[in-house]
């Protein structure tokens, strides 16, 4: 325990507090001292009574503000939760889009490879037929050119 000497309204008070809480206690005493100093010329008991009443009034007012702000706080929390869920949905959608794009790319690559491997096997017969047609059309051209 720590011994602390407080001065409120010009009068000294010796109090005890837990170790480490001295500064906090002195700061609180200065708040009481400030209230007491607003009412000079009355007895010590009345000064402390009025200081206690003013502090109780301030506490009640602060509590009212907190309760008034609570619904707003709830709304904010709800808005944050909604934003978070929307963000998660957007992230999921983006992820799905990326996956779809990857799948489409893989499909395209597979089709390209299939076309690349299929082309050599499909082309030879077509190429041979084309060459034969070229031979026949060239022969036809020769015959047409020699028509009387």
């Amino acid at each position: 325990m720590a011994d602390v000497k407080l001065t409120i309204g010009g009068r000294p008070y010796d109090v005890h507090c837990a170790d480490g809480e001295e500064a906090q206690l002195i700061q609180l005493a200065s708040v009481v001292d400030e209230k007491v100093r607003t009412m000079p010329g009355v007895t010590e008991v009345r000064q402390l009574l009025f200081a206690a009443l003013m502090l109780a009034d301030e506490t009640q007012e602060a509590r009212g503000k907190v309760e008034k702000a609570a619904p707003q706080s709830d709304s904010l929390r709800a808005a944050v939760a909604l934003a978070e869920s929307r963000e998660a949905a957007a992230r999921d959608e983006l992820k799905a889009t990326v996956e779809r794009e990857k799948a489409a790319l893989a499909e395209l690559e597979a089709a390209r490879q299939k076309a690349a491997t299929a082309a050599p096997s499909a082309n030879p017969s077509n190429n041979r037929a084309l060459l034969q047609i070229a031979d026949r059309i060239e022969a036809l051209a020769g015959r047409v050119e020699q028509l009387p």
């Binding site: 030879p124 190429n127 026949r136 047409v144």
Partner: protein, 68 residues
């Protein structure tokens, strides 16, 4: 030896040039006065049959290419 794409392109080029030769020969023939002696009917029939056969072969090839 199997043909590759370049040879296919060469074949198409040959076909185009041959068609151009035919077109030119026919245009030139149309502008000339009719010759005294005409080609025998059998020759002309054979020519027509060959033209029809080549066209049919081209059609078959194009249909095959369309089917992939």
């Amino acid at each position: 030896m199997e043909l590759d794409l370049d040879e296919s392109s060469l074949a198409i080029g040959r076909i185009e040039r041959a068609l151009s030769r035919i077109e030119k020969a026919l245009a030139s023939r149309a502008n000339r006065p009719a010759p005294v002696g005409t080609a025998p009917a059998a020759d002309q029939s054979a020519l027509k049959a060959e033209v029809a056969a080549v066209i049919g072969e081209l059609d078959r090839l194009i249909a095959e290419a369309d089917r992939g």
